[in-house]
Symmetry: C2
Subunit: 453 residues, 2 copies
């Protein structure tokens, strides 16, 4: 079921890393199975509501995010389902989920429109009626008046609450979340808008679930992101670390997670009586892992390769300019996502036509998929934009060869002041778009390593 874009790392081994009984916990990798007793025994199930999901019109990123967070908390999620905006079928989906799981998280259908009927479905399942909540109504009206907007009257639908349910006040949107107990099962409803969903689950649902699961300790995770080696090589490197984990008694685990073309993540999960204590444990293991992996680690948690490079450049007060051929602006576009990048990024020349390399970058006429061309492009970018660092990428994205060079062959050049120029050659797998994206990440990684030396 993988749409993992072919990467520098082979990730296909991942699904074979754990034996069947490892189901529903983070995949364990490496020589030792470090099973931890981290997982509270409750089983949570997820229902995403919206006809647009069943029609394949939008990608359900919510369930991916919630899945990852639950796995990080060590909470089992055995089933996930999607259902359209239809009362009978939503009711059936909720009943099915409550019958086989201890807690159910419902995403979506809490908005103000006619087809937002999650509230009504809960009333049917819980056999209660909807009651207006004046406090919620006041908050929703305030959200509109504070923006000098007239509130459409149907927004007050969101202030109706199944009797007995706790409302989770909205901090971002206008839709409140809901939490209630049916029989001995917990049921949560959160909005389908990803930002609202994330804020509400982090603030209310996950802490409540952990409490409900009877776990009194704090479970915390930290993810180290790596680039440039295969999963099997990483596994070899961390083998001694695994042995150490096996001997410790807290039940700290290390899991390998693929992240598409963005490299392999190593997630440490531990538990302890307080956040301070789990932070201390994770800090210590992070230091150990970093001492093993060195510069293979480019970031922690949500930090991408562009964040890693930008942070180094900003920290060293250096400016950068790019000369992009095969990546055609991708490196510039990725760097520009980083807030504050204007302090370091001067600009980029996308030299798609080889003539542009000769005329604007001062590359000597001749073949353009070579070490020499990458070197001259990097020097040319520095000169053109008057920056400290010049980074250049030239290569063949495919599908056709160029100058007799096959698709996937990429050269990266790095120039620093007038003192130093380095190049590297890569052979990248995949189609045109994959080669471009892998080349962009690899080029940023090369610059990061050069700046770290």
């Amino acid at each position: 079921m993988n749409e993992i874009v072919p990467g520098v790392q082979t990730t296909s081994a991942l699904s074979q890393a754990g034996p069947p009984e490892m189901d529903d916990g983070p995949l364990q990798a490496g020589p030792a199975q470090v099973d931890s007793g981290l997982s509270p025994s409750i089983r949570v199930e997820l229902i995403c509501i919206g006809t647009e999901l069943l029609l394949g019109q939008i990608v359900d990123t919510n369930s991916i995010w919630i899945s990852q967070e639950l796995a990080g908390l060590g909470i089992n999620c055995h089933f996930q389902s999607k259902v359209g905006d239809n009362l009978d079928r939503i009711v059936l989906a909720i009943r099915t989920a409550l019958a086989r799981s201890d807690a159910v998280i419902i995403c979506g259908g809490l908005g103000p429109t006619q087809d937002d009927i999650t509230r009504e479905a809960i009333c049917v399942v819980a056999n209660v009626d909807l009651v207006p909540d004046p406090e919620i109504a006041r908050i929703i009206e305030e959200k509109f008046t504070s923006k000098s907007r007239v509130m459409p009257i149907n927004n007050l639908r969101q202030a109706e609450v199944p009797r007995g349910a706790v409302t989770i006040l909205p901090e971002l949107g206008t839709a409140p979340g809901l939490a209630l107990t049916i029989g001995r099962k917990r049921l949560y409803c959160v909005p389908g808008v990803p930002s609202e969903m994330k804020e509400m689950t982090k603030r209310y649902v996950f802490p409540d679930l952990v409490e409900y699961s009877g776990t009194s300790s704090v479970i915390a995770s930290r993810t180290l992101r790596t680039w440039g080696v295969s999963e099997s090589r990483l596994s070899e490197l961390v083998a001694p670390f695994y042995e150490e984990l096996e001997e410790e008694t807290r039940g700290t685990t290390l899991a390998f997670l693929a992240s598409g073309i963005e490299g392999i993540r190593l997630r440490l999960t531990t538990k302890g009586p307080s956040i301070e204590e789990t932070t201390t444990i994770l800090d210590a293991y992070e230091v150990k892992l970093r001492s093993i992996l060195g510069t293979l680690v480019f970031g922690v948690d949500d930090k991408g390769m562009e964040d890693a490079l930008a942070e180094l450049l900003l920290g060293q007060a250096k400016t950068i300019a790019l000369a992009e051929s095969v990546t055609c602006g991708l490196v510039a576009a990725r760097l520009s996502r980083v807030p504050g990048i204007s302090q370091t990024l001067k600009g980029a020349l996308v030299a798609y036509d080889p003539m542009v390399k000769f005329s604007l970058l001062g590359v000597a006429p001749g073949p353009v998929v070579t070490h020499d061309c990458a070197r001259e492009m990097a020097v040319g970018a520095r000169r053109l934009f008057d920056s400290t660092v010049g980074l250049a990428i030239t290569g063949v994205a495919g599908p056709d060869s160029l100058e007799g060079v096959p698709p996937g062959c990429v050269f990266v050049g790095f120039a620093f002041n007038d003192q130093r120029v380095e190049t590297t050659q890569l052979q990248l797998p995949g189609d045109r778009l994959a080669v471009q994206e892998l080349a962009a990440i690899s080029a940023m990684d090369f610059a990061r390593k050069m700046l770290n030396e």
Copy 2:
């Protein structure tokens, strides 16, 4: 449940377009509900198998693709679920699905490893045993020997078939698919590898489903992609077209589909006795819709805005150069996805630092988020790269204002030879990344319209 980035069009109204009973068919929009009798009455359900899905480690693109295909065929899909590699839970998921739907498509768990247990689960549900299929065994062995590879013995697990099931021979991988009837319900299993799944569903599952549904006619769709107007405005424009559809007897439908930030799609679906006939019908309606919508339509089916612009440039034998500030290389990167683009794209200057605009593009020093700056950048790009067309984008991505101009304000400049320079101003919604992406599409759209005049 939307990860729809805020767009020029408000897409939030989409879920309000159809009344609740329109669930699970394409969303109907506009004044007339054109319900068609296109949909065979069978209800198909989808189960995706794999613990990695429940852990959020990979994006389930299979269910998106199958959903879209089923919707295109007019076949209802009311439920979708994901379950891990656990026998009891897979059995439960299949039984639940068979109880509430007429046909079930299972994706994944057909491979050779220990955790591929879909075959075993089907045996439990159908109350049959697994029998070796010598023909399949021979085919699998041949696939290995033809590549001079030694077959790992566990690959023969794939040659075991639940008694009574029809095997769907694999054309791409080694895992055969399965089809069987349980009670009066149809059950299909296809591999989880997307390429194998797509090949097998198109070749066997969808035709079999259509036959099972009792529909003998061909169902065909065509999607027109639009940019630049809201869904409600589109709805007004096509109102007379809807009336016409209502009067025709073939049951042709028109549905509005959001496509994230990439504009609104209008999908025509019709049926007829043959592909030739449905093509004739769709051709005629496409002409009518285009006569109403004019240049609002930028492409058909999978063609993106970069394809539309590239096609025009290539058709007119014109070259293009870009000067990007707020979009920081995004337009270049998108254009570079189009095969053959090197015939028209000369290059791009990413002028992130305002000084670069002055020094390399010849922009007069002063404010850089203005009509004048966009005009001078477009002219400068043409001159720098010696191209027919210059396209420039300057603006504020946010989160902070720039030169007193708020985030989302973007100017686009278009220069053609020495004869003509045009600019336009946009106010785009959303966060930093959304403004950048919307600006990139809007700029390509502006160039497309200018080239069409």
